[in-house]
Symmetry: C2
Subunit: 260 residues, 2 copies
Amino acid sequence: MTLAIATAPSVLRVVPIMNARTPVPAVVTTSCSGCHLRDLCLPGGLTGSETERLDQMRFGRRKVAAGQALYRAGDKFQFIYAVRSGTFKSSMALAGDREQVTGFPMAGELMGLDAIANGVHATSATAIEDTEVCAIQYAHLNEVVAQSGNFQLVMAQLMSREIVREHGLMMLLGSMNAEQRLAAFLLNISQRLKARGYAADEFHLRMSRAEIGSFLGMKLETVSRTFSAFQQQGLLEVDKKHVRITDLHEFTRAFETRVH
Amino acid sequence: MTLAIATAPSVLRVVPIMNARTPVPAVVTTSCSGCHLRDLCLPGGLTGSETERLDQMRFGRRKVAAGQALYRAGDKFQFIYAVRSGTFKSSMALAGDREQVTGFPMAGELMGLDAIANGVHATSATAIEDTEVCAIQYAHLNEVVAQSGNFQLVMAQLMSREIVREHGLMMLLGSMNAEQRLAAFLLNISQRLKARGYAADEFHLRMSRAEIGSFLGMKLETVSRTFSAFQQQGLLEVDKKHVRITDLHEFTRAFETRVH
DNA sequence: CGTGGCCTTGAAGAATCTCAAATAATGTGG
DNA sequence: CCACATTATTTGAGATTCTTCAAGGCCACG
């Protein structure tokens, strides 16, 4: 049963509560010490012995297939999740089938920090490709955090980082035009892929034009047109979801956000 | 010297570092236990004895005159600030004299949480009327937090709340038109004033049209026009910065964000 | 009482959205 | 493995919203 959930999660849209009840197969657990993502993820900034304390928590792992929800806005909060592999989108549902995408968490990034405020998830997390996550019981995590002042600092930093990230988004949504938004988005993806050891100038987007549009506050047609415009300007080579930045240095220089 | 800074801060735009060096007059300190804002502010959710531990920190108070900066983006991080009275704007400078306003902190609200991530303030805080703040030394605060698991939870909740607030902003900037944005803004102000014991349907805006526009991602002329449109529709009575919502219930119903 | 800042309003222009259609890619069932 | 249905993407053309530029009025302050 637990195995079945791990490998083939049921359709959570229909029975979302199942998600909260059985999010973790008891068998497979994870060690942070040995994880190749440890510097990008929760253990970043912790000492070796602190990381070993995390190991003792024995996080459950969970696979989420493309298109499946890990949790939904309104679900009771129990776990923070760390992405092990694949890409998610976090989003809020709006009136009339519309949604606002608030981010695209990828390997090493945490999801669910917005649920701490009210004990209820404020956003939904949906896998946009096959993914795997670590499920970190929040109550449990707090016990460990309480034992180490340094760990407390690191957790605060992680949450603060999310606040800063959203500041950047507000700047983007509040003051940039379509080209600047798409460029900022691509540069952000580029940097994050680079930090994970992938090429910075050539990558496969995992999200649809509509999802990019929702994230950037523009319509999917505008996203598509802006891709075409960049291509015509020689800045990008675009083939559906495959993107190559012709000259990353030049592209960065042309579009990097000057905050002053 | 310290007194002079408290009552007439020097022009921080010219010598911003002074801000970080001498933010607090040593004499005047504050008790959370007796503060009328305690339920809205940091102590909210703490027990009495925990709040008394805050008292022992003896926060410094500081007055910031209208137009003065409390801190600026890039300043070294040392203090979290709680607004005691008055209104601030938090903002990021953009290229070419433009700015992105990220919020209007008012009494009981915390400022500076975005600085925890990198040890440097990500936004500036500028008083838009005469204000007073409590300055809370972060290193100090952490020591107190480390002594209480409950306090640790409350701090995490406060930071998470800021994340949720920004989610709402992203929704606003990403998916609403001018009328919806301004209405959402007014309803937000209305609720926060109500929580502080003021009238919910009639108030004085402390910020300029330009600042509202920057916050809402639209030009000041559009803000002005939208005010006029609301007035013509009978939804508002507007006289410069004084706003009366004709029928708060109706106004809320017409514009409340339906998240599903 | 003059000056500067803030607000309002108008008119024209630009950016983005909406609607529509064609094409390409993907998945499904036989 | 093919034919068909469905979905994603691109592109065009017209409509809409918001911005830009400009001018005038009001108010506070020196």
